[in-house]
Symmetry: C2
Subunit: 329 residues, 2 copies
């Protein structure tokens, strides 16, 4: 797996604690969680794969280091955000009816919906347990989970609509993607004993990085190379996803908005998706998305200015953010 060194470091620090935590579950939900986390096959055979990329744990550890604490101090935060991330993936796959994730069958596709609901519940519960000794961290994670739920609720509602404004889409993405990255920065800083302004700054950093990531991800969902993204070409258009680039064109008005709106409202089973991608690109959606991503990274960096943070950690944060926002778009 590629990526900056901090991802490897985060995995090696957080994974043992994560494995230990998951062992607290009953045997059935434990083995389902271990499959989902990429550690075993569905029959329980161990796998080589090191599981997820550990982006959120890496952000939590770097936030702690930025505040001058050893990364080890933020391990419970790293475990908590990784558990919340995976709880939401397992439940979202049920809601979205997705049968594959990372080229493997999803939990509900293997064990059924009830098992996926229960294993997700168990991981959410374990996440909040991690932080029991840190009241502010419990509250911060709780509020991030509510944002996550709000974001997913709005995303599902968008599916039943044919017109979504850019501001609505941004608010949805701030919940669905931004909130947990914000919490990762915030929790890492909290567990490091960072000052209130530092904690807020690292939370804000994560929120903006989350938005930047989502703009780039949405560009890849339309114009990305399937060999790189692992998704079929034009996949988000095929799903009529009201993504950030699409809603930016809708909210921009004019002929392009009308044409995109007609496509979203129509029931043409086989619309010419290359033509839609062309309309979006001609309307400046791709350029705007990449400019918005750059702007969010800029806001993220500005949030850290004027705080007494470790320079080494800031360099690694910048590298992590570059990795998240400069995928082959």
């Amino acid at each position: 797996m590629s990526g900056p060194p901090v991802l490897t470091r985060a995995r090696s620090l957080v994974e043992p604690a994560l494995r230990h935590t998951v062992r607290q579950l009953d045997p059935v939900n434990r083995s389902i969680a271990e499959y989902h986390l990429g550690w075993t096959e569905s029959d329980g055979t161990p796998r080589e794969s090191s599981g997820g990329k550990a982006v959120r744990p890496a952000l939590a550890l770097l936030a702690a280091e930025a505040c001058g604490a050893p990364a080890e101090q933020a391990v419970p935060a790293g475990v908590a955000v990784e558990l919340v991330h995976n709880f939401s993936l397992i439940h979202d796959d049920v809601m979205d009816g997705d049968t594959e994730r990372r080229h493997r069958p999803t939990v509900w596709a293997v064990w059924g919906v009830p098992s996926a609901i229960l294993t997700g519940d168990a991981l959410l519960n374990l996440a909040q347990d991690q932080l029991a000794l840190h009241p502010q961290a419990v509250r911060a994670l709780g509020s991030a989970v509510r944002e996550l739920v709000r974001g997913q609720t709005e995303d599902l509602a968008f599916e039943r609509r044919s017109w979504v404004e850019l501001d609505e889409c941004k608010a949805m993405a701030a919940g669905k993607t931004g909130a947990l990255l914000a919490a990762s920065g915030r929790l890492g800083a909290l567990l490091a004993g960072g000052s209130v302004p530092m904690v807020d700054a690292l939370g804000t950093y994560g929120a903006h990085v989350g938005m930047a990531f989502q703009w780039v991800d949405d560009v890849l969902g339309i114009w990305g190379d399937p060999a790189v993204t692992g998704k079929p070409v034009l996949s988000d258009l095929r799903a009529r996803k009201k993504s950030l680039p699409v809603t930016s064109v809708l909210s921009g008005g004019g002929a392009a908005a009308q044409e995109v709106g007609r496509w979203l409202a129509g029931d043409d089973p086989e619309p010419d998706l290359l033509r839609i991608a062309g309309i979006l690109e001609d309307a400046g959606a791709r350029d705007r998305a990449l400019a918005e991503a750059a702007h969010e990274v800029d806001l993220a960096n500005r949030a850290l200015e004027g705080h007494d943070l470790s320079v080494t950690a800031l360099d690694e944060l910048a590298e992590l953010t570059r990795f998240l926002t400069h995928r082959e778009a």
Copy 2:
């Protein structure tokens, strides 16, 4: 709604805090939660009904009073256990495919499975948030939720089996029913600042009351009067539920076990359920269940002996337990 005065007291103390807590949710999940809690119709119109019985909050408040603290001190515990109870009801209704609860359509039946998953997630999250200031309480609630998940996981597995031993059924019920009542006693005592032995005693009390409740509930599911239980006659037999009375006969061996086992293993679509009820009764299942319930109440009471607990609170606890275990069986 009938029941001892402590239930009314618990509702009047806990419901305002519960309403305040649910208001922290986004508008969509908030309105779904308010419907489920019995406060509104599905279109948002307020309802007269005071919602659930508040058995778990009542136990938490009495546990606090038993430790010499005012009931008010345990309100966050009451809110937390009521939220966990309702999270589990919303998710269980999805898993069990139940379309009605308390004579009203269930959440998934009105809003669909994704909404039910999300609203349940949101309530679980709010529950753990309530206790953020009390690390031991966060841990105790977390462990109860894992027990709840384990119990429901086992209960679902029982559906696919034709033979379940009594000990397995007891372990399932200890998770699905006992754990949250145990947590109610434990959390109330913890928030009251009770000593470790007192906290343990009130937790043990709740666990045994939960088991007693389940034995009685399972008797009602087979032999209860539909006018009283609100369930169709013989409903648990119709569902081939491996309940405590049924598994007690299976584990007892002999001709009755064989006959009950044949019924559970067979695929006769219209078995003579009155005959099965008769076999169970002749094998002593009903008498044994009521004796086990009495025994659990006895164990509950013994757990409280030798502790310096408030006599008034103990009287009210006994009254609450009587209410829970002497329904018209």
